[in-house]
């Protein structure tokens, strides 16, 4: 009995990684801004959305990791095998575009978080880009995963800074379970933004590929599922503390719009050096983390879907397209941040539009794939799970499309 328990714990520890990393990276520079904004403007009111967001995230992530474990193939592989090359190609093209802008946003996060410490972006961005490039190209998957897990643990910064701000815990607790709907455009936009940014197309590809790469099989799946669920919960706990920190530091003083995540960090200064330090360090960590994982995941996904050689354990000449794409994403993603007057906000809005167009498609394909008996054997969705999954996809897609609408309006407004 004890031996069995020990075995299960050992298996759990051995499957830790994919689900955790994917869910946590979801709180990248963009995510942190969305949550900070929500807390700064509406205080504790938006907290209730975290529970349904977690549920949506778990449903979508769980299907991907299950597909990875059972089929041993990545999502782009499966889409290619089942839906053909043309579908895959256009999906990959959109994914590259969306992720490129995402990478830009995260390099911008690196630049602005370090500027809080008076480090010039002309110094920080090239250095970070080089660091990311060397880190990925020079190490094995196992080592990269360890580094990523270490980066995940640094998200504790947000928990501590949230506590240092001394928010109103009673309010926080009440509004975490009491849904509040205000029918004003700002509030609705914020809600849509929170849900819309919580599931991104790249996550589905990354998670499934990571599950495969780690060699998780249908047999270890019970443990892997727990890992995915725990990862999603951790993600929303971090989001909770970001919202609470901004609610305590900004909203309780005077509710307002913030311009970016560093604006939120600066607002934490009155609550002590550490609150400010940790919040900005958290932003830096999250941006750097996402800036490493996004180019890597994109190159993997594209190369696997289109059948080019891929993998960090191949050389540059063996996998030229893999390394080429990876380098392109980092150089362009980091480079544009250094161009004065580059329309970065526009690009980020554009990225949300592309993500929003892509996500319903990908989620739809996922449910079709996960229900194929030939691929999944006895691991297909149950009827009830399918109802939940379709509902999740429809809600998610509806909200993302709404976010697309908002982004398009803003884009038009910028001109």
């Amino acid at each position: 009995m004890l031996r069995r328990l020990r075995y299960h714990i050992a298996v759990f520890l051995s499957v830790i990684g994919p689900g955790f990393i994917t869910a946590v990276v979801d709180n990248d520079a963009g995510g942190i801004f969305t949550y900070s904004q929500a807390g700064a403007k509406y205080g504790y009111l938006p907290l209730w959305t975290l529970a349904p967001i977690t549920l949506l995230l778990i449903v979508t992530q769980e299907m991907c990791s299950r597909m990875g474990a059972v089929t041993g193939k990545g999502l782009s592989d499966l889409i290619r095998e089942e839906f053909g090359l043309r579908t895959t190609f256009f999906m990959m093209a959109l994914l590259v575009l969306a992720n490129l802008t995402n990478v830009m946003a995260n390099f911008a996060g690196i630049a602005s978080s370090l500027e809080l410490f008076h480090v010039s972006r002309y110094f920080s961005v090239p250095l970070a880009a080089l660091l990311v490039w060397v880190l990925i190209v020079r190490s094995s998957y196992a080592r990269i995963e360890k580094i990523f897990l270490a980066a995940c643990s640094l998200y504790i910064c947000y928990v501590v800074s949230g506590i240092l701000v001394k928010p109103d815990w009673k309010e926080a607790a009440i509004y975490s379970v009491r849904p509040v709907l205000l029918f004003e455009p700002g509030y609705l936009t914020m809600l849509i933004g929170m849900v819309g940014t919580s599931v991104a197309p790249w996550m589905q590809f990354y998670l499934q590929a990571a599950v495969v790469e780690k060699g998780i099989t249908a047999k270890d799946y019970a443990e892997s599922r727990i890992e995915v669920i725990v990862g999603c919960i951790v993600m929303s706990v971090i989001a909770f503390f970001i919202i609470v920190a901004c609610a305590g530091a900004i909203w309780s003083v005077e509710p307002r719009d913030i311009t970016d995540a560093t604006d939120a960090a600066s607002a934490l200064r009155p609550f002590g050096r550490y609150a400010f330090l940790l919040f900005s360090a958290g932003l830096f960590n999250a941006s750097l983390f996402a800036a490493s994982i996004l180019p890597l995941s994109t190159s993997y996904t594209v190369c696997e879907g289109l059948g080019f050689e891929s993998g960090v354990n191949r050389t540059f000449s063996e996998a030229p397209i893999f390394y080429g794409l990876f380098t392109f994403l980092i150089v362009v993603g980091g480079g544009v941040v250094l161009i004065p007057g580059f329309p970065l906000v526009k690009m980020i809005l554009l990225s949300q539009v592309i993500n929003g167009a892509l996500l319903p498609l990908i989620l739809g394909y996922m449910i079709v794939l996960v229900n194929k008996k030939r691929l999944m054997k006895e691991w297909t969705n149950s009827a009830l799970y399918n109802v939940v999954a379709w509902a999740a996809v429809i809600v998610m897609s509806g909200l993302t499309v709404a976010l697309v609408g908002i982004s398009v309006r803003r884009l038009a407004g910028l001109n």
Partner: protein, 414 residues
């Protein structure tokens, strides 16, 4: 570009004309019947209205980019045939193993050779296309005219794999037989290369490849894999098949692989094995993973210390199993205690009459089964060893650690 080439992307959608030049339908699929001919397209499946018709290879008069002309009009409706390898369904976008380039690739297109023969015009599979050029063809297939696509792809260099090196991965053993799928060139590959291929595949593909290899090559391939990949492969196999492969592995590797498995699975596999190998393995598995005992192998050459050089050489020669283990001979006294080692080089150069005892290396290196890995690597490093005897508390020889075990150990620890 030679006119005699045709791509599968071009074949699909080609109009098929009857004797009077009227269009019957368009090509939807091409199929090989490998039992009859592994390269000639045997059937063309034609979409005509709601049904599919079958055109046999010898009903084709001409094939060109403009269409297919038939010699007769007696077409039968298509019904699924288990002996057919359908190129679009079974090959396009699927993974195959390129035995020449030693990697797993995904098929984007297929290139045929159009051959004008006496009574018909045949299509013969030449190579499978991967890479940018074929992707371009796929993207524009059915959108742009065929001749334009040919012109567009001109500047891109082709990336193809000759059909004879292509290994189709078919998980169903019955279908493998019916489709006459034999591993083309896989057996000639080094197990380490095979292992890399196996690692790239999903569980179904892994099983298919290992099953096609036979248990001996499968065991060698498995030995080259990461312990956790080994475990996941063995776990997904039937216990008797897993046992057959485990029996072919060297005992230390087999024991390591079994230790990674869940206990029930290990028990099931051991149940299927022969008694002798089973007891050897269970003994090895007694040792903790991180000790010299967990690392050692039980395949070694041991002889009584008074054996003469001549006898020793004879006994090595007559025992075919000793070839792999013959890097050193371990000398034992009458209580099976380790008293010395003799390297093969020394043995060959010595006079036949003298006893092995006199050739023994000084000083004697050995390690206790309970010592940890660190001590093992230290000894190999310090004394430049190729192999090292492992003894129990009574100094009896129970196994041997060889340099390759130490190298793997250092590699996995990284």
């Amino acid at each position: 570009m030679a006119d005699s080439l045709l791509y599968l992307t071009e074949l699909l959608g080609l109009p098929v004309f009857d004797l009077k030049g009227r269009t019957i339908g368009r090509v939807k699929e091409a199929a090989l019947v490998p039992l009859v001919d592994p390269v000639r397209i045997d059937r063309f499946l034609i979409g005509a209205g709601a049904t599919w018709l079958t055109v046999r290879y010898d009903q084709v008069k001409t094939i060109s980019l403009d269409g297919i002309n038939l010699t007769d009009e007696q077409l039968t409706p298509y019904h699924s045939d288990e002996y057919m390898l359908r190129l679009v369904r079974d090959l396009m976008d699927q993974q195959i193993i390129d035995a020449h380039g030693r990697k797993v690739v995904r098929v984007t297109d297929v290139t045929f050779d159009i051959r004008r023969l006496e009574n018909y015009t045949g299509l013969f599979v030449v190579e499978v296309d991967v890479g940018l050029r074929s992707i371009l063809r796929r993207l524009f297939q059915g959108v742009a005219p065929r001749r334009w696509i040919r012109r567009m792809q001109g500047p891109i260099s082709p990336n193809s794999i000759s059909w004879e090196f292509c290994n189709i991965i078919e998980p169903d053993p019955m279908r493998r037989l019916r489709l006459n799928i034999t591993p083309a060139g896989l057996q000639k590959m080094h197990p380490a290369d095979l292992a890399e291929i196996v690692e790239d595949l999903g569980p179904e593909g892994r099983e298919a490849v290992l099953a096609a290899l036979g248990s001996e090559s499968a065991a060698e391939t498995l030995s080259e894999l990461d312990p956790d990949v080994q475990a996941s492969i063995l776990e997904s196999m039937e216990a008797d098949k897993a046992a057959a492969i485990i029996e072919e592995m060297s005992p230390d590797e087999a024991a390591d692989a079994l230790q990674e498995l869940e206990q029930e699975t290990t028990a099931e596999i051991l149940e299927e094995m022969e008694t002798e190998e089973k007891s050897e393995l269970t003994e090895l598995m007694e040792y903790e993973e991180h000790t010299a005992g967990g690392l050692m192998n039980t395949e070694y050459l041991a002889m009584p210390e008074h054996t003469t050089v001549g006898c020793a050489i004879d006994s090595i020669r007559t025992n075919p199993d000793s070839a792999e283990a013959a890097t050193a001979i371990y000398l034992l006294d009458e209580m099976d205690r380790l008293t010395g080692t003799v390297t093969l080089g020394r043995l060959l150069m010595a006079e036949p009459g003298i006893p092995l005892r006199e050739l023994a290396e000084e000083p004697l290196h050995k390690i206790h089964a309970g010592q940890d890995h660190k001590r093992v690597t230290e000894m190999f490093d310090k004394y430049n060893l190729l192999s090292l005897g492992v003894v129990d508390e009574n100094n009896r020889l129970i196994g041997v650690i060889t340099a390759d075990d130490v190298i793997s150990l250092l590699r996995w620890r990284r």
